[in-house]
Amino acid sequence: MKDSFAIKLWLIQRVSGMLLGIFVVIHLVTMIVAIQGGLTAKEILERTSGNWLLGGFYSVFVITAALHGSVGLRTVAQETTGWRGVSLDAAVGLFCLLLVVIGLSAIRGLVL
């Protein structure tokens, strides 16, 4: 593995962290504005079905969160358990993939 792998992961986590800061604000503001007076599940689906802008935004959100969480989990695992090397990278990679698949399937359910 290239020796610059760790610093590149660090940069991914920094950039994803910055993006998540913005995304979380957009998400919260949207939720607060949209739910004024209450929303049923049917009303939510009516608004999200076919909304590709929403689908695109949350897809990027999910991927960013998966990357950020996985890189952070890798660091925490290294520092608290001493687990290092290819096995850790593979496990964290799988965890990242799992988050992306679960997140995107949830968005698929809302948009399609």
Partner: protein
């Protein structure tokens, strides 16, 4: 503990890693440093006590040890100021192998200094003109802010990342690398940036500034490490790392 006979009970680590604390009663004097106290014990109570010192005036950095749980230079620490809750406990610096009593093996610390390419690498041949060093130049100011480190190891001992990650280069080595990265005469900055961003590199820093809090010279290794991170980020985005 200070008592009415003006003595102080001090607990000192004896032995190697497997050792333990031993208590000594020492006369308490005005303006007495912890180094004075250790000297009294070695000369009058127990000549087998080992500790390290050289200059006695805060210039060499060799007398650093753990005083009531915090790394300090004992030559510059007054006993009356260090006593907390009637307790004075002296232990070897953490994060380094104990040789005996209060003496630690500094080799891992200096090995990491070397790994971070902490040595100046001349960038010019002897035939070229010297590059002028302007004190007010922004890069020179950054180099100067980090350059006064005397490698006492207080920051290394205080760093929680060093404690949890054996490969981490530590605040002193990275601070040194940052001062050289900003030295316009140095010719090895590409290799240095690779050295400080590999396994155990600057990206491991938690930025909780224990090194800043414990540096007797009031340097700011956290800021230096943040500078290395910024340099690394720019190098990655430019495809140079």
């Amino acid at each position: 503990m200070v008592n009415q006979q003006n003595t102080i009970a001090v607990s000192i680590w004896r032995g190697d890693k497997e050792g333990g604390l031993k208590s000594y009663s020492v006369p308490l004097l005005d303006e007495q440093t912890i180094l004075d106290l250790l000297t009294h014990i070695q000369r009058n109570i127990d000549p087998s006590l080992s500790y390290r010192f050289a200059c006695r005036v805060g210039m060499c950095g060799s007398c650093a040890m753990q005083v009531n749980g915090k790394p300090r230079w004992v030559c510059r620490t007054l006993v009356r100021k260090a006593v907390r809750g009637n307790k004075l406990v002296l232990e070897p610096l953490p994060n380094l192998p104990v040789v005996k009593d209060l003496v630690v093996d500094m080799e891992p610390f200096f090995d990491k200094w070397q790994k971070a390419k902490g040595c100046f690498e001349p960038g010019q041949t002897a035939l070229e003109e010297f590059l002028p060093i302007k004190p007010d130049e922004p890069r020179r100011r950054l180099a100067d802010a980090a350059i006064e480190c005397i490698n006492c190891g207080c920051c290394y001992a205080a760093c929680d990342v060093v404690a949890s990650n054996e490969a981490y280069l530590g605040p002193a080595a990275l601070n040194r690398a940052w001062s050289l990265v900003n030295d316009s005469r140095d010719g090895a900055n590409k290799e240095r940036l690779q050295a400080v961003t590999g396994t155990g590199g600057c990206q491991n820093c938690h930025t909780n500034s224990q090194c800043v809090a414990r540096c007797p010279l009031e340097l700011n290794p956290t800021r230096s490490i943040a500078g290395l991170k910024r340099k690394a980020a720019v190098a990655i985005l430019k495809g140079k790392l």
